[in-house]
Amino acid sequence: MFHFKQLTEWLDAFLRQYLNEGWTLFVEFLLVGAVILTVYAVLALLLIWTERKICAFFQCRLGPTRVGPFGLLQSVADVIKILLKEIIRLNHVDQRLFRIAGFLVIIASLCTFGAIPFDKGLHAIDFNIGVFYLLAVSSLGVVGILLAGWSSNSKYTMIGAMRSGAQLISYELSCGLSLMTIVILSGTMQLSQIVEMQSTGWFIFKGGIPAIIAFVVYLIAGHAETNRGPFDLPEAESELTAGYHTEYSGIQFGFFYLAEYLNMFIIAAIAATMFLGGWMPLHVTGWDGLNQVMDYIPPVVWFFGKTFFCIFIALWVRWSFPRLRIDQLLKLEWKILMPISFVNIILMAVWVLLFN
């Protein structure tokens, strides 16, 4: 079984041969940063293409077909276009905040992105409060969105930002609570350990009914956190044209766009890590033949397979349902998801006491 751990450890040892501690870390940090930024950008392109293609297929269309085979280079062309576009300087906006907002959104998603364990030894940061860190950093994005809406000095963006504030802060709760359920089951907050613990069975199977409920709640709440699908109220193109980023143009808009897609990936990746075993292959106790076959599939493929499964569900939901109204949105969170999450935590505690 090949793990990226071998590669990263070899690299670490190789660097240490020639450099002292500080310089090794420095070079490693640089490498990690470069790799993460590249993967971030490439993933975003891939996701944009996937979304456009899947959305088109849901709608009986073909989607992009012109640039490259199956339109694969379409998002590359889009990036070139967006880089070449003029950044329109608006007169009555708060210039400083207006520029910072986009960066804040993208920094938040980048920080979260770094904590995702893609494979054994393939994550930028792994510390003992990993889940807590994920929740904390991912909610920074809302500040960027609020700033974008506020600083644009437009009525549409203002309404969009206010909606997004209400939405993100509410859904943060059930998001956290459903992850807490898994923390109860695993007993740790470190992501790498959570994945390791699923070698004998994914938590969604191990945790029984409470884990399944938590998984569904997390998918819904996480989906709402990404401002997409039926929860795209802050953008609500039929109501607020483009919501909080109405006034942005060129690459400044590109930041929001990129962050939106990556947030979708991050939410799916966390779901995969916490519930579906991360990069762990599917193991069924007793079926050694099957387990061996599964082991031949590289863990990275497992990770991305699971993540794209979650993304597909998100896209499926997004392209099937109408948008919620703001009161429905809050009702769903405070009257349905929150109580269910609380009950679910207790259920999980009982489950852990009974079966573990």
């Binding site: 039929s238 109408p322 948008r323 109204r325 703001i326």
Partner: protein
């Protein structure tokens, strides 16, 4: 039944009441105008169809077309006129019918008749700084008087309502404004993705909740009524497709029927059948788009694409037979332009089961959806009284329980031979307006199914003269288009051009409905309600 005697007894001061079929025409002196209107309103005539302005040369007049919901087959044309061309005044009937205020604004815009008592006498379609009244016969279209504007319209000019003091002799103008100074007013449109065209809504908000809206029209006004005054009747036909482009063939049918009635032309039975089938297919296409747009307004873009996909089948059928898709251009005076394509019947027969299957899918996809139901239930209540008073015909009125289907009330073409029911719902909620469209698709399929196999053989068009001159008189024809009652009013002076032609736009009243039902709802509801009313802006901006 409404008889000549009844109207005469109701209106003792009327000069003379004439009737042509069920249309009763009467002229009232301007002084008794409001009184006559009040008597009629109290006598059960609760539906004001339209107010048509006419420039008679030496005088300016208006024609009120009034009906009663109990006897919808009868129409009373209440006429009055004023000889003062400099400062024409007439009494406003805005307190009698909710729809009147908007109609009066239109008449004021084009003829300069000021309705005393109506505070909102802003221009409706033209810019506020326009000089002259375009539909008057002595209008000067010199570009020096009204140069092509190079600057945006001043929104503050929209804000002020000039009011005339009735009591004082001289007309000093007080200024009122629509919104308070401190209100949070957001412009929805004219370029907004969900206004279904270039409609401009100024919306006053309190957080997410709407306090008041003020619609503003005219961004694509093409002056079709004015153009038509120099067009021959066949030429007018091609403009009617471009009014409400989603029910273009039905509008065209109306003008054809009005002219045929004037010429007393015998239209072959085959043409009647073909027109009816084409009309119903248009209605299905329009309702599919209406359904899709409403879903899209609520955020379900996929449903919109499915609606468009099914509509495409109808467009293909049209293209094969009529040669055009959106602008089918098919009915002509005396019949239809070409005979049916040999494939037409086969394709329509194939379409009917396909559409039924897809309707089931549409219901599964959207009707049962708890999000959609949660948004539609209990929002946008339009009571029956309001619907009648606002003149909200078509599916919107029927969703409120007002039986107003012209196909049933005054059957034209071969609707009398088809067995179908008028869908009526009681609630008047957004959900009723949503579901009624899908139900009407089903009814239209039924009509098409009955007629498609029974199209009689024979000629598809009656012979007409090369130059069509309509005998002197007034001609009125109403049809049921996909949005409601579409009416044509032709005042002919025996020429090959109409002296005055007026189209009643069902969409205009629907925007008025929007104005009445939105206060208290949320922004998201405003968009959804717009979708549920399904207005088409080019029909308003004639």
């Amino acid at each position: 039944m409404i008889t000549l005697e009844k109207i005469q007894s109701l209106l003792p001061f009327a000069n003379a009441v004439e009737n042509k079929g069920d249309i009763f025409t009467t002229a009232i002196p301007a002084d008794n105008f409001l009184e006559a209107a009040t008597i009629l309103k109290d006598g059960g005539f609760d539906y004001l169809r339209d107010i048509v302005g006419i420039d008679n040369g030496e005088s300016l007049g208006v024609v009120l077309s009034i009906s009663s919901t109990e006897h919808p087959e009868a129409i009373v044309m209440l006429k009055t006129l004023t000889v003062d061309r400099e400062n024409p005044r007439l009494a406003s009937v805005k307190d009698l019918w909710l729809s009147a205020a908007l109609y009066e604004r239109e008449v004021h815009d084009f003829f300069g008749i000021r309705f005393e008592g109506n505070p909102d006498m802003r221009r409706l379609f033209l810019r506020q700084d326009w000089k002259g009244f375009p539909l008057r016969k002595d209008y000067d279209d010199n570009l020096e008087i009204n140069p092509i504007p190079t600057e945006n319209e001043d929104l503050d000019a929209l804000e002020n309502l000039p009011e005339i003091d009735v009591n004082s002799e001289k007309s000093f103008e007080k200024q009122h404004s629509i919104f308070e100074k401190e209100e949070y007013v957001v412009n929805f449109g004219p370029q907004h993705p969900a206004t279904h065209g270039v409609l401009h809504l100024r919306v006053s908000l309190e957080g997410e909740v709407i306090k008041k809206i003020d619609p503003n029209f005219g961004y694509i006004h093409r002056g079709i009524e004015k153009i038509s005054e120099v067009y021959t009747y066949p030429q007018i036909l091609h403009l009617t497709d471009r009014l409400d482009y989603l029910s273009g063939t039905i509008n065209r049918h109306a003008v054809c029927l009005a002219v045929e009635r004037g010429l007393e032309l015998e239209v072959p039975e085959r043409a009647h059948y073909i027109r009816t089938i084409i009309d119903e297919l248009t209605r299905i296409a329009s309702h599919l788009l209406g359904w899709g747009c409403m879903c899209m307004d609520m955020g379900a873009i996929t449903a919109f694409v499915y609606g468009m996909r099914d509509r495409e089948k109808i467009m293909d059928i049209f293209e094969e037979t009529c040669g055009g898709r959106l602008m089918a251009n098919y009915s002509t005076i005396g019949g239809v332009m070409m005979d049916l394509h040999p494939n037409f019947q086969r394709k329509v027969r194939e379409f009917i089961p396909y559409m039924r299957k897809m309707l089931k899918e549409h219901h599964l996809l959207f009707t049962g959806n708890p999000i959609a139901r949660g948004r539609m239930n209990g929002v946008g209540k339009l009571s029956r009284e309001d619907a009648v008073s606002l003149g909200a015909t078509g599916p919107v009125g029927r969703a409120s329980g007002w039986s107003n289907d012209t196909r049933k009330k005054e059957p034209y073409a071969v609707y009398a031979k088809a067995d179908f029911s008028e869908i009526l719902r009681e609630g008047g909620m957004t959900f009723d307006r949503y579901i009624i469209r899908l139900d009407e698709i089903e009814e239209s399929l039924k009509i098409v199914e009955q007629l498609i196999d029974n199209i009689p053989e024979g000629s598809y068009s009656a012979k007409t003269k090369a130059i069509i001159k309509l005998p002197e008189g007034e001609y009125f024809q109403r049809v049921e288009n996909a949005r409601g009652e579409f009416c044509v009013f032709i005042d002919s002076r025996g020429d090959k051009y109409p002296y005055r032609i007026h189209f009643r736009s069902p969409s205009m009243t629907l925007v008025n409905v929007l104005k009445h039902i939105t206060p208290g709802t949320k922004i998201a509801d405003l968009i959804m309600l717009g979708g549920s009313l399904d207005y088409v802006i080019p029909c308003i901006d004639r």
